[in-house]
Amino acid sequence: MRFTLTLIGGVVALAVLSIIALNTGHGDLQSAEGETFYYLRAWRLSAAALAGAALAMGGVLMQGLFRNPLASPDVLGTTAFAVVGGQSALLLHVFAGATIPVFIPAELLLPIGCLLGAGFALLVLLWLAERAAGLTTVLIVGFLLAALGSSVGTFVTSFFRDQWELVRALQGFSLGGVDGTGPIHLALGAPLVLIGGIAAWCWSRPLDVLLSGEVEAAALGVDVTQVRRWVLIWTATLTAAAVALGGSAAFIGLIVPHVMRSCVGVGHRQLIPVSAIAGAAFLVGCDILARVLPPTGELPIGVVTGMIGAPLFIVVLIRSRRELV
């Protein structure tokens, strides 16, 4: 019952926010370019919804796998390397655009770079997960990868200090944003989010049993190594798709599963779909604010999610302290 009500509430919120998003912005819908504005907003709305859903589902998977409500997709380092991949693709386009094969559209360079970056981090993690005795090692290496990715990004950016427009583009990408997304981005991102989401949902049962710990789960019949491997793969897929669609938006993967758990409980079969809807609604809402808050131009979406997510997380954390290990 609570699941149904939460799901309906989430869908209604998403629908309302979508209508607001379509009708909000600096462009005039009644003008001659009105239809174009409408299409542009529809694409960015879809990208925001998909990226939000992907990050929220990634958060559910990470918190379930690590049995820790403070885990988020960022902890794997895949997000940081997806950003580095995207930045590298941007530089490749700027400095070696002519050498890129013509069958790769320029708009796809960035998302493909994100996927390759996340894929690299995932390979390192998987290689380690097969050999590590416990998840703690995977978690520590994930943190290190995240720190490394962030440092590499800053290092690369520092080379182009004199070219301020390029630096601005690189930093803007790392802060996230769904502006400029079009059908071609969605054609790449949507299948990844869909496949990642459905696959994540299929791992609900073993993830539920894992809540009592890896040893007990193994004794109850769960193939812990397989669960670990596939949950890492699907989380990386979801975060790579999210970064490719909307850059890196902080806090969604942390806060949304946390709030949804208090609504529908800890069962992943319920938690994954409601978190997807709530994550989509949250990022669509943040995108609206990113567009309307500054008098001119836009805020990076990661700034808005951070400004809302951080205080909200503190409130939720205080209210549900007993959930913590």
Binding site: R205, E216, L220, G221, R261, G265, V266, E323
Partner: protein, 275 residues
Amino acid sequence: MTDSDKLTTNPLSETTAEAEAPSTNDGLCLEGISARRNNKLVLTNVGIQAPGGAITALIGPNGAGKSSIISTILGLLPITSGRLRLHGADVLTMERLRRAQTFGYVPQRTRLFAPMPVSQVVAMGCYAHGGSWFGPNSHRAAVRDALAMVDAEHLAQRPFNELSAGESQRVLVARALVGGARTLLLDEPTSSLDIGHSLILLKLLKRLAHSGHTILIALHHFDQVEYVADHTVLLHNGIVLCEGTANHVLSNTHITTAFGVVRHGSTFRLTEETT
């Protein structure tokens, strides 16, 4: 008289049943089991015969190999040599889910990272049987029955993390039973329980053994072993020091070798204090 009264008055006065000499086809049989953990030999040529429909207690100092034996039976610790049979059937060739259906496991204690109702915790025990366990499903009746077996039906909707240690151990026994396992492996389930709750749990295990369950339990307290065990195995440094009735196994000669203590009536002293 309440359960706790019974244990505080004289728990040791109850006579433990003498286990009859079991046949190799009856119960759980470990033959020459050796196992390594982190390149260290933790079990060396262990042979144990746990009779069917009875309680076998594993006792020994910390690191003696009690938990390692339970881990090898569950398939969590690979063995380097030996055979493992249950009622004559080879356990080592059992597929993962089949093994999980065969053995019910009760850990020392469980802590979930988020609140989960007791009924869902018990339903985890149905994992190896497949199907769904949330919402309307065929496992609901099994969960109810398992909770009834451990006198915990009233806890079904309580959050698991809010239960007392005694209640949560009973719930974990229900989880071990819910899938229909007839062989239970308990790894020091009384270590965090007070004397009253320990007795309640041990009485429950006795009842289960009488109804035909084969039980292997790791214990630390001698009085609990004497109270509950039909058959006792004393371990030391990964080898079986001796096995038999509790009275025989817990004689001064054996416990001095294993624990370095000497028994004086109801108290114990370190060997070095008595010399």
